[in-house]
Amino acid sequence: MSALLSSELLANIGRCSEPRQELVARREIRKYSIATSQRQRRFLDGDEAPPMFHVALFWDVVELDQLTTDGVSIDGLLPKFPLERAMAGGLKIEYHQPIMAGDLLTATRTLTDIYEKQGSQGPLIFYEVVMEVVNESGEPVLTEKTTRILR
């Protein structure tokens, strides 16, 4: 039995966000490519988006009064956890096809797991969020799994 994770909290596993649709603009690809020091011409020119561009494309766009004092937006998919200090996180991405300028993409995020581990300095809470991105024909574009650790 988990010490920190109540059954109410664990009941959030499987929760899904509303699908978000975004149009891939050449200008946004160019800005992202320049900011990340890309070297491939097709990325810098904005024809094709480099890997990881989806992080920018689907970053939550919130209004100023929705930001906390440290400038972070609240992730509505997540429940309130008994531990709140975020530690290192990890990402696992499978790329199924490239993202091109003009693509209309849809992302759906699911809270797929919450679990607890004993760290050397106390308990840790892990949670996983999977984001599936598909194109207009419903074909998979990429799958991203984020794991975050709270202490």
Binding site: E28, K31, Y32, I34, A35, T36, S37, Q38, R39, Q40, P50, P51, M52, V55, A56, W59, D60, V61, L67, D70, G71, V72, S73, A88, G89, G90, L91, K92, I93, E94, Y95, P98, T147
Partner: protein
Amino acid sequence: MATTRFASIKVGDVLPERSFTPNNVQLMMYNAALWNAHRIHFDHPYATGVEGYPGLVIAGPLLGDWLNQCVVDWVGDDGVLAAIEYSNRKASYIDETLRSGGRVLALRPELGEVELEVSIRNEADEVIVPGIAIARFHQVNSS
């Protein structure tokens, strides 16, 4: 059948290293491209005084992007980055010089795939972002 490029790759091959010295202009542009307003990336008094960091913190996914690029630039036009997995283990700060690099761990000729170990190291030569990636090389049609 795999490409001639794939046939030339061996376990232990080293990917070219690249160094990055992100300054606050680049960090500002990156977070603006995301719409990320987290103060630890641009508000120096907040990052140091309130959060106790030694400086402005480089955004974790920017380091992740450089791992992706390490593979993409090595593969070139001969294939694609099929998958990558990494974790941000240690923070880094404005004006530190970081290095990306990697090496070939395994070959899967039947799939034209190469498994790679990739990393970002800091000036102390600590691996701050370890990762594993799969590059898939285009198949040559033998028919």
